[in-house]
């Protein structure tokens, strides 16, 4: 099965595009530069720690979700999302079919640090975070691969670019140093870890203390310590399952006690599947006293200016604060403090009535605004520091014009903000809709639909590049097999140029040969179009 490019990341004047398990790089003229290929494992002798730990969380995931599709994003079962259920037996069996040694998991996330010096990718079924050094000219050097105990679904970087925040499908957010210390064993981590620049604390020390290990508790109670019928029954069940699967349980416990062999700290968690994470910064005026007490925030000067004004008013100063914003399948957007106080929830942005799948910090110096999208008919615009909904902007109404009046719901898969020809633009991708929706963020914080750009296939990702001549061009990764007008030589990477008459679409023809993935069309669909499955069934109980 030929797989399309499905993720894009423009980094300076270099374009990175993920296609299946490969990451290609292109120049700004879209000339191919190089390709990183996911290393194929040699037989049972695994080169990655992934193979050993990858199934540790399996028993907690619902069996439906574990039916894996060649390393792609798991189909999300409705209702069971991020849900530990009782399906351990089945899921363990299903796990055998996961990620066979010769199977290369899909790239599921593609990111670059703000300084463009590092590219970070998530691969699917092996739950691995890859960090690459980028030479600025399109060459990637693999620096590290870290197999997470649970599948990461979205990453962000702290403002200093030194820490990766990884949100997983089980609802937790972990911090990992972008560059792990050279000797990454658990024992050396504490001693050799460089102090976290923002906190001054070694990163391995959790801001929110991590869950004490299972050993500390010996969770088994006995009849003498359990007095209610309800608890007795729970204990009974536990014993029964112990005898039946004593071996598996034991194995499971061992795995739980063995944390991944690299520095990582649990920062926060939802009891829900996380779908997106981003970092926000805000400049906040505080009384000078508070600013002094404040260590993590960086004091950036006296907000009240100087002279008589400052003397009469109580001394105020501004601090720049960093926040972690997380979105989940249960309609929540949570705003927590940044490290090292990520355990403090500052607020929520509540109002979505369906899953949230995308968070986008407004670009162009408008970082006090957050745009979110998901299964609702509209995009939401937030004053996220104060948890206030500022406005909504319709998506469904514009989708109907492309896809027909009978469409009654949308799943937003990409909300991409950027400076665009002197304006602040937001480009939106809706799952299985062959068009790109262009909105403009106005000065009064309204998000206005500007244009719907029809495409020859379903867009999967979008980014912008500066053309050699200086103008801006849109770059779209798309699924040409779903083409509305079947054209010769349609490509999965397309450049769009705005012209007087409309949009000129140019295929990027010279895509490097990509080994056809060992994956059925059906499975591929599930990987590429996984967002709608986040929606809750209304008749489910």
């Amino acid at each position: 099965m030929a797989v399309p490019c499905h993720l894009l990341k423009v980094c300076g004047n270099i374009v990175f595009a993920a296609q299946g398990s490969d990451i290609h790089s292109f120049s700004s003229e879209l000339e191919h530069i190089s390709t990183w290929r996911y290393p194929v494992k040699q037989g049972a002798e695994s080169t990655t720690p992934a193979a050993e730990v990858q199934e540790s969380p399996a028993p907690e995931e619902p069996p439906a979700k574990r039916r894996k599709v060649g390393g792609g994003q798991e189909p999300t079962s409705n209702g069971g999302a991020a849900a530990p259920t009782d399906g351990q037996v089945k899921s363990r069996k299903a796990a055998q079919y996961d990620n066979p040694a010769n199977e290369r998991p899909f790239v599921q996330g593609l990111y670059a640090t703000a300084d463009g010096r590092h590219v970070v990718a998530i691969t699917g079924s092996d739950k691995t975070i890859w960090v690459f050094e980028h030479d600025g000219a399109g060459k990637l050097k693999e620096l590290s691969q870290r197999a997470m105990p649970k599948r990461p679904c979205s990453l962000a970087f702290t403002a200093d670019n030194r820490t990766i925040l990884s949100a997983n499908k089980f609802g937790d957010v972990h911090a990992l140093p972008l560059l792990p210390s050279p000797t990454t064993t658990t024992t050396s981590a504490t001693t050799s870890s460089s102090p976290n620049p923002t906190t001054g604390l070694p990163l391995s020390r959790s801001a929110t203390p991590s869950t004490p290990t299972a050993t500390a508790f010996k969770p088994q109670a006995n009849e003498l310590t359990v007095h209610t019928k309800r608890n007795l029954k729970a204990l009974e069940n536990q014993k029964r399952s112990l005898s039946r699967k004593a071996f598996e349980d034991q194995q499971q416990q061992q795995q739980q006690q063995a944390p991944p062999p690299f520095e990582h700290a649990l920062l926060l968690g939802h009891v829900s599947m996380l779908t997106a994470i981003c970092v926000g910064t805000a400049t906040v005026a505080v009384p000078a006293v508070a600013a002094q007490a404040s260590e993590p925030g960086t004091s950036i000067g006296n907000g009240t200016g100087n002279g008589a004004e400052a003397a009469s008013a109580p001394a105020r100063t501004t601090v720049r604060r960093e926040y972690i914003i997380t979105a989940d399948r249960d309609e929540h957007i949570r705003v927590s403090r940044g490290m090292p106080q990520a355990h403090v929830i500052e607020g929520f942005c509540l109002g979505h009535e369906e899953f949230v799948s995308q968070l986008c910090m407004a670009p162009g110096g408008r970082e006090e605004l957050l745009i979110s999208g998901g299964g609702d008919d509209d995009l939401f615009i937030w004053d996220w520091v104060n948890g206030r909904l500022l406005g909504r902007s319709g998506v469904l109404e514009h989708v109907k014009r492309v896809a027909g009046e009978d469409v009654d719901k949308v799943a937003v898969t990409r909300v991409f903000g950027c400076g665009w020809q002197g304006t602040t633009a937001v480009f939106v991708v809706v799952e299985r809709v062959p068009a790109l929706f262009h909105y403009e963020l106005l000065d009064d914080s309204r998000l206005q639909h500007r244009e719907t750009i029809p495409l020859r296939g379903n867009p999967l990702d979008v980014d912008i590049i500066e053309s050699p001549s200086g103008g801006q061009r849109l770059l779209v990764a798309m699924d040409p097999s779903a083409s509305v007008s079947i054209e010769e030589g349609s490509s999965s990477l397309v450049v769009l140029d705005k012209q007087e008459t409309g949009w000129k679409q140019t295929n990027v023809e010279n895509l490097p040969a990509c080994e056809d993935a060992n994956i059925s069309a059906d499975e591929l669909q599930k990987i590429l179009y996984s967002t709608e499955s986040l929606r809750k069934l209304t008749d489910f109980d």
């Binding site: 929110t208 299972a214 536990q238 007490a293």
Partner: protein
């Protein structure tokens, strides 16, 4: 579905319907409300919850506290666009106070019913994930209100079906609560089920969010390991400190928690131990 089962269900429904008739003051009987012991807190269920606490309609839970106010909506001009309209959803009827005490996993409501007369000026809410158990508590409160009509008791207590592990922030604003009770929570013995425990490092941040500084989390359990688990997780959380024992024992809610919860009574009958621990919500650190 077997005939017998159908009959039983019919009986239950008839019973419950009859009980809801307005003039009935009889207390509900548990046997008509039993339900499977566990509900998976991770699944969707068919839960009803407001998107935002401002959209929560408390008026049906606490009808005696509803504020009569002139409809102000007419004065504001009609919103221009449909989207703007949705920005200001119809405000539910206001009540004169906020809920300040929450009983998480309230079960059959013993604690609620005992707390209600103890703090008659405070609105108390039980939250329970199991449907028929919630229904039982609802019927119980109704009957108690009727029985105590003259004294005006139990008007300050209500119950909601909710999954507290997911949706606390949908019901309560930041710092709204003064007390949160977690009484005899399900132990989830297996290590792999620990994420289902109602106390965890990450969930404790949500309790801290809904609690005001100085607010108290009350915990009690008969399972020593779970007690230890809760103590460790709250003590390890920077937003909480353990309340010293003398202060704990002087708190009038503590004996109620020990003796009035259904689980507490069961443990009493089995002559088991009860482990109590209280935690105070600290001020957030400067930043």
């Amino acid at each position: 579905m077997g005939r017998a089962k159908k009959d039983r269900r019919q009986k239950r429904e008839d019973y419950r319907a009859a009980l809801r008739e307005d003039d009935v003051t009889e207390l509900p009987r548990k046997k008509f409300y039993r339900q499977r012991a566990h509900a998976n807190p991770f699944s969707d269920h068919r839960l009803i919850y407001p998107p935002h606490p401002d959209q929560m309609d408390w008026s049906s839970l606490y009808p005696d506290y509803v504020v009569d106010e002139p409809q102000q909506d007419q004065q504001t001009p009609a919103p221009e666009t449909p989207s703007d309209r949705e920005l200001t959803p119809a405000r539910p009827k206001r009540i004169s106070k906020d809920v300040e005490v929450a009983d998480i996993g309230c079960g059959f409501g013993g604690l609620l019913v005992a707390l209600a007369p103890l703090m008659p000026e405070t609105l108390i809410l039980g939250l329970e994930i199991r449907v028929s158990v919630t229904q039982f508590v609802e019927d119980r409160i109704k009957a108690l209100r009727r029985q105590n009509e003259a004294a005006g008791l139990y008007r300050n207590v209500g119950v909601l079906r909710a999954n507290t592990m997911k949706f606390l922030p949908n019901f309560f604003r930041k710092g709204q609560l003064a007390k949160v009770f977690i009484c005899f929570p399900d132990p989830h013995f297996k290590a792999r089920k620990h994420k289902q425990r109602i106390v965890s490092t990450t969930l404790n941040s949500e309790y801290a969010y809904v609690l005001r500084p100085g607010g108290i989390v009350y915990t009690i359990t008969d399972v020593p390991d779970l007690h230890e688990w809760m103590v460790q997780h709250f003590e390890a959380h920077p937003s909480f400190e353990r309340v010293p024992e003398d202060e704990q024992e002087a708190d009038p809610c503590v004996p109620i928690m020990r003796t009035e919860t259904e689980e507490g009574k069961k443990v009493e009958r089995h002559k088991g131990q009860k482990h109590v621990a209280l935690f105070r919500r600290l001020e957030d650190p400067a930043w």
